[in-house]
């Protein structure tokens, strides 16, 4: 296992280098830069834009910008965000922390929904329940998330008007958050998290549900499950111990992939619910071509992806003894 990890570490160096070149050049070569919108501002002169461009280092050739960036990064400096005039990591970190809460809660809900539903679908294959769950899940799957959110917010507003309940429309904390006690703060955040997390978990559940159902069906037809049944093992035990544990092997092996996902935030749901996570920050950075913020963030996710993949490969070998660590 140690040689495997060492080999992976060595391999990751060229991988990261090539990735960083691609990241930097693709962003830099896309038309326009951070100062493009300023060119349309009647109050900013071309001289001023030249000055800013020099201050930001955007007037230099792309390769030179790249080497400076790379050099600084090796020393742990990811550069300054153009928008915030703050080190990239300082901008990213608080957002990642916020996103983690939402991602964690929605991941828990996601598995809590997908696993039982998937198992039920396999055990009662083609029953009325299986079919109706499928239809409902596919219906939700087809809802574009931006649209689902508009409808959810509309209904929250209706509920607020009808009942007078203080259901939060968005954000992460209430106005009086600072005055709350420790427990009150936790509850307040939870109150804000629950709706986006649930919407997110339900609308994504279809994919995993189907994979679990498919895997379970495969395992249930296998010889050892038949043997277990023949032995008189209880149905419950057959399903959970013999079938489920083997059926989710490929899913367990894919867990490493969750690592980059954990810092990438909850996607569009954060924007719609005005949740102060990674996505709104990242979208703004993409829109404004905040070069170092986007590039820095992408490098971090790439590193996590590489680590996650290594973990996945290890897990694959652990859960399935037939596979040797390459």
């Amino acid at each position: 296992m140690i040689p495997f990890l060492l080999r992976r570490l060595v391999q990751s160096i060229p991988t990261l280098l090539i990735a960083s070149v691609l990241i930097f050049f693709v962003i830099s070569l896309a038309p326009g830069d951070f100062l493009t919108p300023a060119k349309l501002n009647p109050n900013i002169s071309p001289e001023q834009i030249e000055i800013l461009s020099r201050n930001f280092g955007l007037d230099r050739p792309v390769w030179e910008q790249y080497f400076r960036w790379m050099g600084n990064m090796l020393r742990g400096d990811f550069g300054l965000s153009f928008q915030y005039q703050q080190p990239v990591l300082d901008v990213i970190w608080p957002r990642v922390k916020n996103s983690l809460w939402l991602v964690l809660l929605s991941t828990v809900l996601f598995y809590a929904i997908a696993i039982p539903v998937g198992v039920y679908g396999a055990v009662r294959q083609n029953s009325l329940g299986d079919k109706s769950i499928n239809v409902v899940l596919y219906f939700l799957l087809g809802f574009p998330s931006f649209f689902l959110a508009l409808i959810v917010i509309y209904f929250i507003l209706q509920i607020r008007n009808a009942t007078g309940l203080d259901v939060p429309i968005g954000g992460m904390t209430s106005n009086n958050y600072e005055e709350l006690s420790g427990l009150g703060k936790v509850l307040d955040i939870l109150k804000h998290l629950i709706i986006p997390a649930t919407v997110l978990a339900i609308s994504d559940a279809a994919g995993l549900t189907r994979v679990i159902r498919g895997q379970m069906l495969e395992v249930m037809r296998s010889d050892y499950v038949r043997t277990a049944r023949a032995k008189g093992v209880s149905e419950r035990s057959v399903i959970w111990k013999h079938t489920f544990r083997n059926g989710i092997l490929p899913i367990v092996a894919g867990i490493g992939g969750l690592l980059p996902a954990a810092i990438s935030g909850a996607g569009f749901m954060e924007v719609v619910f005005a949740y102060p996570g990674v996505t709104p920050m990242l979208l703004a950075a993409l829109n404004t071509q905040d070069l170092y913020l986007v590039a820095g963030f992408t490098v971090i996710t790439t590193v996590l992806l590489i680590i996650g993949n290594a973990i996945s490969d290890l897990l694959l070998a652990v859960v399935d003894p037939r596979v040797k660590v390459a």
Binding site: G32, P46, I51, Q85, P276
Partner: protein, 588 residues
């Protein structure tokens, strides 16, 4: 009310005792806070997160330093008559040197939110830092006139001297920048230069370290969620209402950060914020519904004024690579025909939902006096008239139509051009669609495509003899009501002089030269009426040249929760001044 007004004017105009407060005219609000109701929070929203607390690196439209400099500046504009009145200045400046030197006495007894006195040093340091190109302040250009620097000198602790390179109508506006504390920024600047300034007051700085010269000072900020300001107690010492009460009445101001305008509307309808800027009939209808349904108690005033924005189509005169199109776009008859094709009424009805204003000039319709002067001086408007468009095009030699119904010239060349706008802006996409479809009716083939915004701006601001576009539909906003023409729009060579931007920046037509001359002449005219007359001539030249086809603009609507009091009288509200002075706003 009359009496209060009299007192206010007496205090501001007269040479009162040295620590005299500034008295906010009672006429600046429709509703006096006679019961002296104090406290409470004004809750508003913004749709993009704040990026910094630093006044020297901030570049946002709604910003934290921008909120804190509300109530700081040597002069403020009176929304009743657009005149600048002394504010942090004790009195009107002493003008000399042919209108280029201003000596300003600073009001005494003013303090920053940390209790330090505000003195001349604060203006000087602020000026130095803004004008250091290594800092990259967005105000860099506001300390220059026609490329030459403005200088600020300290005469004594409470006297400043401004020297302008030339006479400028914008002088008062330029002098009214907010002073930031010398003991914070000046100190850092002297010790660490521009680099030290750039590292200061980032979002990570504790709010307790932030110092404000104005009405508000930052109280707390939660990234991506909200920023809360509290009143600056020291500000109230020199800002009084007409009955001598300290201002502001409010304790707090808060911004809620929301995803988009729709989310802002949702928060407003739910009563979570106190004000909202309705964009169109849809927003108005939602608010009206909520008011009528009883779920929202609010005031709604539609169509207060036009918005201070413009939407236009510009044709590229620098197309050396395509002589046919270059000749076409440079022909004034063609551009007039294009203005005749623009069905502005349909644009208002369809793209703006029926609430909007037709525009024909670069001056936003909100600046009514300037526009009226221009029209009185004979500035032409080429209104929707397809027949007139056809006639003009026929004069240019486009007499026949081909089999597909497109106009062709003698050599059979189709009258055709590309028109782009930025994708994702629904209103502009609809304006472009309507323009292209109307053009089709007279046989002009307009290939309309929305494209990526950065790409579009790159094309528009390109310089040279062969610039990479035919026609672009875009909009501008910003500008002042003193001299409502853009410094980099009107004069030849400006980077937004987007119809003709050759390498050497030279004018091509006599009208452009005239407009350039009039622009500088107007900017150097101090008398309002005379300046307006210069502006009128400029509008006339612009109208005849039709370098840019102006289309339509939306309207400004006002709505606020009923718990708020102290808004402007109805006739003072407009898109330029807004609907209230926060200093006089109170919670009922």
């Amino acid at each position: 009310m009359k009496k209060a007004l009299f007192v206010a004017l007496a205090l501001t105009a007269g040479s009162a005792a040295s620590a005299a407060p500034f008295v906010w005219p009672a006429a600046w609000t429709a509703e006096q806070n006679t019961a002296n109701k104090r406290g409470g929070e004004f809750r508003t929203f913004t749709i993009s997160d704040f990026k910094t607390f630093n006044p020297f690196t901030s570049a946002e439209a709604t910003s934290i330093p921008g909120t804190m400099d509300d109530g700081a500046g040597l002069f403020i504009q009176d929304p009743r008559n657009d005149e600048f009145i002394p504010y942090m200045a004790e009195s009107k400046p002493v003008v000399s040197n042919g209108g280029r030197r201003f000596v300003v006495k600073i009001r005494q007894g003013m303090k920053f939110s940390d209790g330090q006195p505000i003195t001349a040093d604060d203006w000087i340091s602020t000026y130095r830092i803004h004008t250091d190109d290594k800092v990259g302040s967005n105000s860099f250009d506001s300390f220059r006139l026609a490329g030459k620097p403005i200088t600020v000198r300290k005469i004594d602790n409470y006297t400043l001297q401004f020297d302008f390179p030339q006479v400028s109508a914008s002088a008062y506006g330029i002098m009214s920048y907010a002073p930031w504390p010398d003991h914070v920024f000046g100190k850092a600047y002297r010790e660490g230069g521009a680099e030290a300034i750039k590292k200061m007051w980032t979002l990570g700085t504790p709010a307790s370290q932030i110092v404000s010269p104005g009405m508000w000072v930052l109280d707390s900020y939660r990234a991506g969620e909200r920023a809360v300001f509290k009143k600056n107690e020291f500000w109230g010492e020199w800002n009084k209402d007409s009955r001598g009460q300290s201002l502001p009445y409010l304790n707090n101001l808060s911004y809620r950060i929301v995803a988009d305008q729709n989310a802002g509307l949702a928060a407003y309808l739910a009563g979570q914020i106190d004000t909202f800027g309705p964009r169109n009939a849809d927003d108005l209808a939602q608010i009206k519904r909520a008011i009528d349904g009883g779920s929202l108690k609010a005031t709604l005033i539609p169509n207060v004024s036009p918005q201070a924005t413009s939407q236009w189509i510009v044709f590229n005169w620098n197309k050396a690579g395509d002589p046919f199109k270059q000749k076409l776009f440079r022909d004034v008859r063609f551009r007039r025909a294009m203005s005749h094709i623009a069905n502005r009424k349909a644009m208002v009805d369809l793209a703006l939902g029926g609430l909007g204003t037709e525009t024909y000039f670069s001056v936003y319709p909100i600046f009514r006096q300037q526009l009226a002067a221009g029209i009185a001086a004979g500035a032409p408007r080429y209104t929707y008239n397809l027949q007139a468009a056809s006639n003009l095009l026929r004069q240019m030699g486009f007499t026949k139509k081909n089999a597909q119904g497109w106009l062709v010239d003698g050599s059979g060349k189709v009258l055709e051009f590309n028109l782009s706008t930025n994708a994702g802006n629904t209103v502009r996409e609809q304006l472009g669609r309507i323009f292209a479809d109307e053009a089709k009716k007279v046989g002009v083939k307009v290939n309309f495509t929305p494209i990526d915004f950065n790409n579009l701006v790159g094309q528009l601001t390109a310089k040279g003899e062969n610039r990479p576009f035919d026609a672009i539909l875009l909009g501008l906003s910003g500008g002042s009501n003193v001299w409502p023409f853009g410094t980099n729009v009107v004069p030849c060579g400006g980077n937004l002089h987007s119809y003709n931007n050759p390498t050497n920046g030279a004018c091509l037509t006599s009208q452009e030269s005239l407009m350039t001359k009039l622009y500088y002449q107007g900017d150097a005219t101090l008398d309002d009426a005379k300046r307006r007359a210069v502006g009128a001539q400029l509008l006339k030249a612009e109208g005849e040249l039709q370098p840019v086809i102006y289309l339509v603009g939306g309207n400004y609507h006002v709505t606020f929760n009923e718990r708020l009091g102290g808004e402007y009288p109805r006739n003072m509200m407009d898109a330029y001044y807004g609907n209230r002075a926060l200093a006089l706003t109170f919670i009922k």
